[in-house]
Amino acid sequence: MSTMAVPDIAVAPVDEGFWTRSRKVGLTLLALGLLSAVLFGALATDQQARFTLSDDAAGAALEINGTIGAILFGIITIAAGAALLAGVPKRWFLPVLGVGLVAFVLSFLCWQVSAAPTGQNFMPLVNIIRGTFILALPLIFGALAGVLCERSGVVNVAIEGQLLMGAFSGALFGSISGSVWVGLVAAAIGGAFISLLLAVFAIRYLVDQVVMGIVLNLLAVGVTGFLYERLMQTDAAKYNSAPRFSNWEIPLLKDIPVLGPALFRGNIFLYLGLLLVLVIHIGLFRTRWGLRTRSVGEHPIAADTLGVKVLRVRYRNVLLAGVVAGIGGASYTLALYSFTKNMIGGKGFIALAALIFGRWNPTGALLAALFFGFADQLATYLGAINSVIPSQFLAMLPYLATILAVAGLVGRVRAPAADGKPYIKG
């Protein structure tokens, strides 16, 4: 066919020079490793740092001398950093980075645990893992709501409001009906209600999606706060004492050491959250729904020319996001606490951070949420052992990590191309 082979016109390859991203990260890791080996090593005491495999000090434990541990894990971090600096194959980048960071955290823990007041030189792993997941749970639901929404091209800043509305309506209708299931459905509808407002204003009336999201958050705080004071508090027994999902033990899995008691004796929300991550991940990348969702979020005009109903896909996804976030809100009021004013307290925004940190990917969002949850749990733990590290520092971690992520330290973060851009036909 072709009369002449024309060489493909492509962009000239990027000449990054010596300082590739991998090397820069390696250098950072190396510096962290040095810091931990020297500083943490010097500050740690000779006490045994015990990581118990239970909820308290009892039972089997992993033990290591504090000073030795801090230095040893610091050296592992140094080694990981040096490996990246020397240059490793691309597919090894993430594993090596992971090992380096985990070793850094362990070095830190060796110092903290060994320096704790006598008698408290232990860290109960089961407790920490369970706490991490519980604290991460609203983030997981929230971030998944973000994934659903933003993959179809609608920015979801209203996660906070969706969680809050879910928590509120779950508590209210759960209390009135006396049924957790009614509460759960009501929570989903509550979240979807905020989503519906977002969808209508963003998709139909082309209101700026970020502004709309913020307004909806304020609306949710206002409405639930008002009803809390004027309705719930008038008769808390009737309106704010929702039944709670009891813990379900999963046969076999519950007997796995550490993980069993930490994860598989939990409540329905934990299982549901993890299941949703899996379902949405597969859905997004393996099904027709996912292909269309992503196409609408990347290039809606192209999708339209192929007969994909752009607006319908967006409405559906935004509403689904509300349902997911609403259930996430109920993970508070139908399992842990009774409703209080503004009880989500900014978790929706951390979920947004997890979404970005996880690169708009369900699995990535899960890992980011767990990381943030761990930071949160660690702050609690450090408070309990009278650590010298102010807990506020750990509370800053999610936001700091997000800034680093957006700055490109964890690879190029690329939002769906049409995220936040309304689609106007014709």
Binding site: T287, R288, R292, E298, D304
Partner: protein, 520 residues
């Protein structure tokens, strides 16, 4: 439309070609009238109806999701599904179909390649395969050659012929007369939303052009041989990165002398934009020197460059050249609003601005309801005239015009070209960058061809188009060090570097003119 026919739809920019086809493809709804397929009226609610009726379209701006693979793009909207209601994608079957169709019509594509990594020529092939997998009988190609090199265009025409042989009908939308004559069985000319005539491909270019614009236009640029003087712009070893920090200009040397037009030809995206932005101070030069009449201007702010006597017609007027919400009068003084007589201290002088605007509007034939009308309400051609009027109203040493007639009607093209030549004749150095090869050939006294950030050759305007086309595709005397295994590189005399100005080659208007006919 008949089966197995290539029907060209010819018309100027804005004549309504694309709108008509978008209606045919179900993207827009007709206000009146009906579409008949096989004698039956067809009501299209959306593109899926059109696809169902056997109509496929390759849009001017490709409708491909850049982060998807070829297969994903092709299957989108018509997915192969297994697993019932869950709707799991059957990628293997989709892949097989892509391979089958692309082999059947000899349109090689890698089903697993990601679109954003592919060159435009291949992307277009993907678009065609996409339409063909949907079993279309009628394929609409909207300005398919706008982004292609001459060689890629030739390949596309071959593909169109083979599709025709396979019994597909093709609507070929274009404003390039040469291609129409080469391929069409029948030609319909559209002007201002109306069919103004049909013609057979035997009709002469002049006849077709006259139909398109409704009057006889000169298709050549009248000019006398240039009389080049001292070098005004000298660029040496220039290196510039694009927005993604990818090398876009990679060691460019060029000189523009007073009183000559240097044309830069090349397929879009080979560094032309970055070259000009670096000269204007809009983008940092990473290496090399840029000097204007002997002064080194590296690192100068754009304002200082402009004040030093450089006129700049940016390539995308809607982004860089105009403030659409501002009035014509305001846009005409954007460069010197703070100088007398238009400004004094903190104040503007509205009277002086209005008076000057009136004068410019007349002089440059800007068709506007008034000087106070927002520039955004003007037609493309008149917007461009506002920019040209503004830039040529200062005494210039150097005029840089990037895509000076993109999206401009034929009448305005003629006018803008004559203004550029007039500026040359009063001794200004002119640098014209255009992706329309015909425009470059028509205007330039010397032509520099850019490929992958380098000037791959400098030739006279009388060089055959095919040779320039080869250079544009990176095949030329300088290509060897570009590490391109070019099968045609041994073609003798593909292009000879001509450092002397065109006057020495005796390349007056007659030569340039014959090639610039397609421009309409």
């Amino acid at each position: 439309m008949e089966p197995g026919e290539i029907h060209a739809l010819l018309g100027e920019n804005g004549a309504g070609k694309s709108t008509l086809m978008n209606v045919l493809y179900g993207l827009y709804q007709p206000d009146e009238g009906e579409i008949l397929v096989d004698g039956k009226p067809l009501k299209l609610k959306g593109p899926s109806d059109a696809i169902g009726a056997g109509i496929g379209m390759v849009h001017q701006h490709f409708m491909l999701v850049p982060v998807f693979t070829v297969t994903e793009n092709i299957m989108l909207g018509a997915e192969q599904i297994r697993g019932g209601i869950a709707g799991f994608l059957d990628r293997r079957r989709a892949r097989r179909e892509v391979t089958e169709v692309s082999e059947r019509y000899n349109l090689r594509v890698d089903p697993d390649a990601v679109i954003e990594d592919l060159p435009v020529g291949i992307q277009q092939r993907v678009e065609i395969v996409k339409a063909l997998t949907r079993d279309v009988d009628l394929l609409i190609l909207d300005e398919p050659t706008a982004v292609l090199t001459p060689q890629e265009t030739e390949e596309l025409l071959t593909v169109m012929r083979s599709l025709k042989a396979a019994g597909k009908s093709i609507v070929f939308i274009t404003h390039k007369l040469g291609e129409v004559k080469a391929i069409a069985d029948r030609i319909t000319v559209i002007r201002r939303g109306k069919t103004v005539g049909t013609a057979s491909p035997e009709a002469s270019r002049d006849e077709l052009a006259a139909l398109m614009v409704g009057r006889n236009v000169r298709l050549t640029v009248d000019k006398t041989p240039a009389t080049p003087g001292e070098p005004v712009l000298e660029v040496a070893g220039l290196v510039v990165d694009d927005d993604r920090q990818i090398r876009a200009v990679d060691g460019v040397d060029l000189t523009v002398r007073a009183g000559e037009v240097l044309g830069v030809a090349g397929v879009q995206g080979n560094g032309q934009t970055e070259l000009i932005e670096a000269i204007m101070g809009l983008r940092p030069a990473l290496a090399g020197t840029i000097s204007l009449a002997g002064d080194r201007i590296n690192g100068w702010k754009p304002k200082r460059v402009l004040r030093a006597g450089v006129g700049y017609v940016p390539e995308d007027r809607s982004v860089d050249g105009l403030i659409k919400e501002f009035s014509v009068a305001e846009n005409l003084v954007l460069d010197i609003y703070d100088r007398p007589p238009f400004g004094a201290g903190l104040a503007l002088k509205p009277d002086a601005i209005a008076a000057s605007a009136k004068e410019r509007i007349e002089q440059f034939d800007v068709r506007t309801s008034s000087a106070d009308a927002a520039v955004g309400t003007l037609s493309g051609g008149n917007q461009q005239k506002v920019i040209v009027a503004r830039e040529l109203s200062r005494p210039l040493k150097l005029l840089i015009a990037a895509q000076p007639t993109r999206g401009v009607d034929v009448g305005s093209i003629e006018f803008i070209h004559s203004q550029v030549i007039r500026e040359r004749d009063i001794g200004t150095a002119v640098l014209v960058v255009s992706s329309e090869l015909d425009e470059v050939i028509g205007l330039a006294d010397r032509i520099a061809v850019m490929y992958r950030g380098r000037i791959i050759g400098i030739v006279g305007p009388d060089t055959p188009r095919e040779e320039i086309g080869l250079l544009m595709a990176g095949i030329g005397p300088d290509a060897a060090h570009d590490a391109i295994a070019a099968p045609a590189a041994d073609k003798p005399g593909a292009a000879t570097a001509v450092d002397k100005p065109a006057a020495a080659d005796g390349g007056p208007a007659s030569d340039a003119g014959s090639a610039s006919e397609d421009e309409a």
